[in-house]
């Protein structure tokens, strides 16, 4: 029973999450594209930069946040940069990317710092919402998404730090994660024995479970801001 549940989370649910993610994004995209355009222009003034450059600046430097709350801004930027590094790190678990070795590192850049930064930023975002006036404008989704991220990251960080610094007999070598993820992407899923028989297996299962959950919620929650931000920012400069 336990093995079946674990297997379900480690393999079929991962495929399910990926399918929901792709189909969800496609659905959301079509939802917008099939809606009527507007006749006018909703732009704001002044526009000191060419449109494309302005959109990139707005999207990646977040000037409104910088003007308003420097601490919040710094944590938003740190969070998003770390998130990208995290995604790259996971890709490196599947395959080596030579160009990423410009800064020599083991699989994950940052020797564990990336995870810590993410956790700290996530907690800041969460605690910020506990206060007036942000508490009043928050809906359950806002808290739940942060909690899902928090749990995923805590367990992910643990796996990484424990393996890297050899904590308390954490016995799962990198090669086994490689075999597991490699199996998933080549559609020949395996759960290597070193993982399946490890007393730490449960930690990996929890990490994968919450990551799956997050990926499935992505297209249907406010996480869609990662896509639609560009549409809105571009309209703002039309």
């Amino acid at each position: 029973m336990r093995d079946t549940l674990y297997y379900f989370i480690m393999v079929p649910m991962v495929y399910l999450a990926a399918a929901v993610f792709v189909a969800g994004l496609f659905f959301k995209f079509m939802n917008v594209m099939l809606s009527p355009r507007i006749k006018g222009r909703l732009g704001l003034f002044p526009r000191r930069l060419p449109r494309a450059a302005g959109v990139l600046k707005d999207a990646f430097a977040l000037p409104p946040a910088f003007r308003k709350d420097k601490v919040f801004w710094a944590l938003i930027i740190a969070f998003h940069v770390a998130f990208v590094l995290l995604a790259l790190g996971h890709l490196e678990l599947i395959r080596e990317f030579a160009f990423l070795q410009i800064i020599p590192h083991q699989v994950f850049l940052g020797a564990g710092a990336v995870g810590i930064v993410l956790i700290a930023a996530t907690l800041y975002f969460l605690f910020r919402r506990f206060r007036t006036p942000w508490r009043e404008i928050s809906v359950p989704e806002d808290f739940i998404l942060l909690l899902v991220l928090f749990v995923t990251m805590i367990f992910g960080s643990h796996m990484h730090l424990a393996a890297r610094y050899g904590i308390a007999g954490f016995d799962i070598p990198l090669e086994d994660y490689r075999a597991y993820l490699g199996g998933l992407v080549s559609f020949k899923p395996v759960i290597p024995d070193m993982i399946a028989n490890s007393p730490h297996y449960i930690i990996i299962v929890i990490h994968i479970f919450f990551a799956n959950l997050f990926i499935m919620l992505f297209p249907f929650s406010k996480m869609i801001h990662s896509v639609f931000a560009f549409s809105a920012l571009s309209l703002k400069r039309k």
């Binding site: 003034f45 003007r67 709350d69 404008i137 406010k222």
Partner: protein, 415 residues
Amino acid sequence: MEKEKISELRGLMKTRLNRPMRYYLDLCTRCGLCYDTCHVYQGIPKKEYSPVGRSEVVRRLFKKHFRLSGRLFPYWGDAAALDDAVMDDVYEAAFSCTGCRRCMVHCPFGIDIPHILSMAKLMLIGNGTAPEELVMLADMAVEKGESVEVFRDGFKENIRNLEKDVQQRLGLASSEGLIPMEKKGANILYVGLSGAHSIVHPAVIFNRAGENWTLSFFEGVNFGAFAGDPVKMDLIAKRIINEATELGVKEVVMVECGTAYRILKFLTGEHPFRVSSIVEVIHRYISEGKIKVRGGAISEPLTYHDPCQLGRNGGIFDEPREILAILALDYREMSPTREYNWCCGGGGGLVALDNEQFRIKSGKIKKDQIAATGAKIVVSACENCITQLGTIQTGYGLDVQVRSLTELVSENLDI
């Protein structure tokens, strides 16, 4: 609320589900960066008067009535079903917003809150709870467009009287043809408002500049837009578009009315004529040497209030400042200014409603801003702003004079 009503309102919401509405409704992260960027919230710090608070009212309804997730798990996004109490919140959110879009400047995604609220306004019309004054004024404007013949002679008669005023101001011997009407092939079709000042002063300036112009039969103000009725908004704007096309003018010049300018320039598609604000035209005349204003004519400290629809929503920042730089000896800038300037609280048709106490409260930050400059004269270039600035001035007993830019120019022309 009855089932039929709910489905009727849902139908109205659906008509507003255009592309931007779709992604605006989905992408707000409730980061709260816009929270206190609304002047109404500054005056009355209630969640319902914050930009995100306003948009959440609509977003929660949208989730419940258009999203499977909202129907299955309303808990997730705090989805709310349509009922009478919710419609009161909808009213509160929509008709306390001036459409100034200051919040949009402060949103990291540039979400257009008034665009979201356009859905709220349409629902209120469907629910029969939109402000009667605005609906009535919109209907009258549409009616005037349909039966212009009925108004024509009376209007012309009034204009003949105004011509005498213009004649006096210009010191001419005859008032003949000082306010031309129905002039085919004129360069400019000027669109005024119902008040005489909105015609007399521009007429003085056009005559002084030797412009080939003609006056429109219609007023620039668009109560269809204020009421939130896109069909009437179009009909009201069409009156002017058709008139301009029939006369074959090169340029339509809008009176000091921010909304009228923005609607014609940005919200009604492409036109075979250019659209300008009277402020741009005055600026052009001065730069081309067609008119001259008395340099340093005003010695009292003076400040300029950027009308939201001309400034951040219309891109006219420099022209009024350059005109005032000539006229005023002691020009003072407000802080914050330009695209960050605080809305006065008069836009969105709010000055036409019986809500003076609310407007005095929501104008508090504007009052503070004006007082901080120490200016004795506040100039603006929008009829709504000028009315509301007057309300703030009396409401707080502020020791300032509120003046229109066009008026100031017309009175200080170097003859």
